[in-house]
Symmetry: C2
Subunit: 454 residues, 2 copies
């Protein structure tokens, strides 16, 4: 029988993002003493809400949308007493493809009939394949090896018959995976798509993943979670992980922490160079080398009012000409000031990720002006977040599974290693890399620890 | 002007593998004071020579071959006064393909004429493509984006017309890249192949990369290099990297080290979770997430004598049935005892990497017996190295460039970051992931530091 200080933690949680904090909440609710160690000086991980200095508007520079098809985060929002409000989507959308800008309502731009037929066939085929993938175990899909031996780009190139269809599918890769279609496997594309029940589940507002935003900003979820926890330590990066038969010891620059169990709720890529004693099993260690983070820069421009609405536009646009390839109206619920949100993804993000912020601002505003006219060039204020430059995220929205990773290493993604348990949006069984998946993963990891006893 | 202790190092080198030690030697020869920090309690990195306890034979459980087409390592061997001896290759080779075992002399198994024609066309097409790739900058190849958007497996599947050709190309992937063909891009396959001047440059003995072995074992190179250096510190893993305008500070558990410049000569994947202050540029940071190490288990069985030679066999075999898919005679120069070497690669290595050593031994001996008969089942002694289980290598032979990595991040592979320089076999401009590439990278990094002044 071990004697421990009566206040000593029973579970250590690494990472105060949504996954770690949700795990800590569930364990605390179950009567466990939990200590959360967070490397940053803030909670929220890949959610971060900023109040802008000039206009005073609050914007999300990280994750921002939730939808009714995402039960875990929706239930948590209700539990925490947080409110949501609808994403602005009235008016016409814009699609800039092959040098032409189209205005349209609804799902699909008014492309020539043969293109629409091609896109319908291709997306139908893709979604039919996706329905055959076990969401929580893609490596068990029929033909998993063949689906995982090719890139999503290879599949698009082979099956799309028009340049517009190829462009739309590559925009899907950028907007939803924050990567080029070449950077992940077809199996990953299918499994991830299956989490949303299809392409539209990921890309549309009403009824889908982009339906709502969190009043006060998405970081409020993490803040509210942390407020309910007794022991959250900021500025505590874990530099070494030890375990033996009795428990886990986590080292930080300010000292070490010990508990019978630990949940590591950070992107796996960030664990690759961290020493583990004893060393991690080789499959887990090699998995952590194989989950690179996506590349995305989120850019927000604030205007006195949402001028695009006057022109009958929703603020939603897609463009095959970067750097901004996807936009949304991200104004506060009352509609003023107007906030236009632009995403820079994959190769566009790489081209700009090493530049100075002024160069990125210039490039992003040029994109917005091409879509929304010269007024877009003169915002009151802008803000951006280059997630690849954040050492404690390594990129956003989440990890990419390249060819061979799901089939070669998928089984190691959630398998506990002794007293170490894994959470984080990458480990979610549904909506991986989304806020919903983070919450689901935290609840699953907490349940694992509770089931393990002490 | 900074005042430093007259004995303080002018350059820190991280990693006492061939790259780091070569860099340290060149800098020392140029009059610089160099300190080498090595995480392990030995030098040699991915070369490691063991003297086996029962038979007393010395075997290489890591890199072991050099060839006359590898000028950097050959010159270094001469410089160090180390001798080489020829790889045993007399007699017939074996090829076990599609359930049949063929005996043959020369390059290619005696397959049906339509298969030989198919293989000749396919390999010719592949090598013609490879000749168009700039060896030190694959991302500048014509059509680099398209070549990097697909896996090598996709290309094989599309262009091979017989199952035997597909099997041979996948064996090439396993034997030369220590990975499945699905795990890396076509562009990487081409660039890597180009380093050897074609497929045969990598896979053959006389005149090629497998011609010779180092007398006394390949680790002797590192030992001899280290013997000539004044300051090599073992057991010194670097846990934090800081730099400012004046120099670099490297933290280890036993203290910190400071110098005007540092060369990091370790696999990039191992740096992914190491804190850098200031943070690495985002493209470099994301590159480190995208260079997973190959999966290989090297298995050696020692027999009283090389019994396969009596049967007219060279000991060289390829097999599309694992776990051992490639074998060599790895006996000492005098020919006794007999040592048979089996490689377990890619998916075969993954299937066994988490097993106990006894299970791997059993599986490997069954493979050897299928190829060389029941005598292979009863070795005097065996030894293995499961490189994925080595925390300070992370896998072997080296890093894999998945789709999108060369074109998206290649430019960051060797670009110095302030006072930090990069070496290691992954950064080689020729023979990457080979001993020759490691030496070349060390010499290049040393030249960079010398050119940078202080």
């Amino acid at each position: 029988m071990t004697t421990t200080h009566p206040d000593a933690p029973e579970v250590l949680v690494v990472g105060a993002g949504l996954a770690g904090l949700t795990a800590a909440r569930r364990l605390t609710q179950a009567g466990r003493r939990v200590r959360v160690l967070e490397a940053r000086e803030r909670v929220g991980g890949r959610t971060h809400t900023l109040r802008l200095p000039l206009t005073g508007v609050s914007v999300d520079v990280g994750g921002q949308w939730v939808g009714p098809n995402q039960p875990h985060v929706m239930a948590l929002l209700r539990e925490l007493g947080l409110e949501v409000f609808p994403t602005y989507d009235a008016g016409q959308n814009l699609a800039h493809l092959l040098g032409r800008t189209l205005r349209y309502r609804g799902l699909i731009p008014p492309l020539p009939p043969h293109v629409l037929a091609d896109y319908a066939l291709l997306s139908g085929k893709f979604e039919a394949l996706a329905r055959r993938i076990p969401k929580d175990a893609p490596w068990q899909a029929p033909d998993a090896e063949a689906l995982d031996a090719q890139t999503f780009d290879t599949w698009i190139t082979r099956h799309a018959h028009t340049p517009q269809t190829r462009a739309l599918m590559r925009l899907y890769a950028g907007a939803v995976f924050s990567a080029d279609a070449a950077e992940f496997s077809l199996l990953h594309a299918l499994a991830y798509t299956a989490h949303g029940g299809g392409i539209n589940g990921h890309t549309l507002t009403r009824g889908n993943a982009l339906q709502d935003r969190v009043l006060g900003g998405a970081q409020a979820i993490a803040q509210r979670l942390a407020d309910g926890l007794p022991d959250v330590r900021l500025g505590s990066p874990v530099t070494r992980v030890e375990q033996d038969g009795a428990g886990v010891t986590l080292h930080t620059p300010d000292g070490s922490h010990h508990a019978p169990h630990a949940i590591l709720a950070v992107p796996p890529a960030l664990l690759s160079g961290v020493p583990f004693d004893p060393p991690l099993p080789p499959r887990r260690a090699q998995l952590q080398q194989r989950l690179p983070m996506g590349a995305v820069i989120k850019f927000l421009a604030v205007y006195e009012r949402p001028f695009w609405r006057d022109a009958g536009l929703s603020g939603m646009a897609i463009s095959d000409t970067g750097p901004v390839t996807v936009t949304f109206d991200s104004s506060p619920p009352q509609g003023t000031p107007g906030v236009l949100l632009g995403f820079i993804e994959g190769h566009d993000a790489r081209a700009l990720m090493g530049c100075g912020e002024e160069d990125r601002r210039e490039a992003a505003l040029a994109s917005l002006a091409r879509l929304f006219g010269p007024e877009a060039r003169c915002p009151l204020e802008t803000v951006e977040r280059n997630w690849a430059a954040e050492p404690h995220s390594g990129g956003c929205y989440g990890a990419l599974f390249g060819p061979g990773t799901w089939t070669g290493y998928g089984g190691a993604l959630r398998a506990p290693v002794g007293r170490l348990h894994w959470a984080g949006a990458e480990t979610a069984r549904v909506w991986m890399n989304y806020m919903d998946g983070a919450v689901e993963s935290g609840e699953r990891a907490a349940a694992e620890v509770l089931a393990a006893g002490t």
